[in-house]
């Protein structure tokens, strides 16, 4: 990045915002070190508690605004899970809700200027995706035994095609966690980096108005992306869960 610093005093450090730093100085990052990851994940938990626990404290029949948000979130994920996996999928509602809440709140908190986006890190999204992948795979085998392998054997296809389809199905099954995680981290990271690049251009007075307009527009887009990516991650989790509960096409 230092090479780009040369011309006209423009300084582009679009990736600096993603650096993991220890909170209390030092440069060593052990697995237990409190870092900005800790801080912003903690704030995510705080926000979730504020909206879903404190917000619903009134238990009002006619909800307050905060309680409405909590109920809408609950209702949306609950309906999504029920629509896709059916009644038997509702057992896993707390897990799906945990994923959705973490991603959506982390995404929105990451939109606060100068904040740190935990969901922009592939390490985080990969763990989320692997949790879903492993959970769904284990659940599929526990629930259906060897019958779960029927997921890869497309019985509605003509017999000669089935082995070919099985190979494709197996590959697509194992690609799932990769696309699942990179989609989220990539979207969040790209948006934040682009905003930073536009912000770098604002150092030139002539371009500054355009730059600020562009930042505003990107920010609006990022707000959409924050919600949509959380939604997409959750809906894919539901779809994978459906495959585990009802294998076979």
């Amino acid at each position: 990045m230092a090479t780009e610093e040369a011309a006209g005093g423009l300084a582009f450090h679009p990736m600096d915002q993603f650096l993991v730093r220890p909170l209390f100085g030092g440069t060593e990052i052990n697995w237990y070190t409190p870092t900005n990851v800790t801080l912003w994940m903690g704030l995510t938990v705080l926000a979730i508690v504020l909206v879903l626990v404190v917000g619903s404290r009134g238990r009002a029949i006619v909800p307050s605004r905060m309680q409405s948000i909590a109920e809408l979130t609950f209702g949306m994920v609950h309906k999504m899970l029920e629509d896709i996996t059916g009644k038997e999928g509702l057992k896993y509602f707390p897990y799906v809700m945990t994923l959705f809440c973490f991603i959506v709140f982390a995404n929105f908190i990451g939109l606060i200027p100068t904040s740190f986006s935990t969901t922009s890190h592939i390490a985080v999204t990969a763990v989320l995706a692997m949790l879903v992948f492993l959970g769904v795979t284990i659940l599929g085998f526990v629930k259906n035994g060897a019958h779960f392998l029927g997921l890869f054997w497309v019985s509605s296809a003509p017999l000669p095609l089935r082995p070919v389809l099985a190979v494709i199905e197996v590959i697509s099954y194992f690609v799932r966690p990769v696309s699942h995680s990179i989609r989220l981290a990539g979207n969040v990271m790209a948006g934040h980096a682009v905003i930073k690049v536009f912000a770098g251009f604002a150092a030139i007075a002539a371009i500054a108005p355009v730059s600020i307009l562009a930042i505003t527009a990107m920010y609006g887009l990022e707000v959409l992306v924050a919600l949509i990516q959380a939604y997409v991650f959750t809906i894919l989790t539901c779809v994978y869960l459906k495959d585990a509960l009802h294998p076979g096409h």
């Binding site: 230092a2 993991v20 990052i29 238990r59 809440c101």
Partner: protein, 191 residues
Amino acid sequence: MATTTEEAAAQATDAVHPMLPGTDASGSAVGMPQLVFETFPNQIFWLLVTLVVIYLVLSRIALPRIGGVLAERAGTISNDLATAEELKLKAKAAEATYTRALADAKTEAGKIVAAAKAEIQADLDVATAHADAEIAAKTAESEGRIGEIRAGALEAVNTVARDTAAEIVATFGGRADAGAIDAAVAERIKG
């Protein structure tokens, strides 16, 4: 010589301020911080802690509470709807009672009107008959008087004509007996 001093200085800085993983000497990121594997254990550890905390908060407190509120609301709404349905039926029954009462009252009123009409008609008939009788009596009386007057007038005309005729005959020097004059006058008046 100069370069070695710089290197030494750089090494000294490094020794005092070791660099953050994934950064250059200026403290900026080198490449993608997402791919600095030294930070992975830290991120994964804190992510798992976060997820567990969120899961516990949601499954122990938030979700049962919100689910309860939603169920309660659904119950309240269906109860209210049932009550509303009941009240609607009651209102319908009340309306039917009212309609029946109204119809009864209308029939009753019709009867009263008819009775009043009949009574009035009877009174009217009696009064009309009475008036008719009175009028007939008055007419008869008047006709009698007119007949009298006419008879009187006829008599007077006869007398005047006879006297006048006798006077005229006498004036012309004639002599006429009363019988002839009477006959002539009677014939003329008749004619």
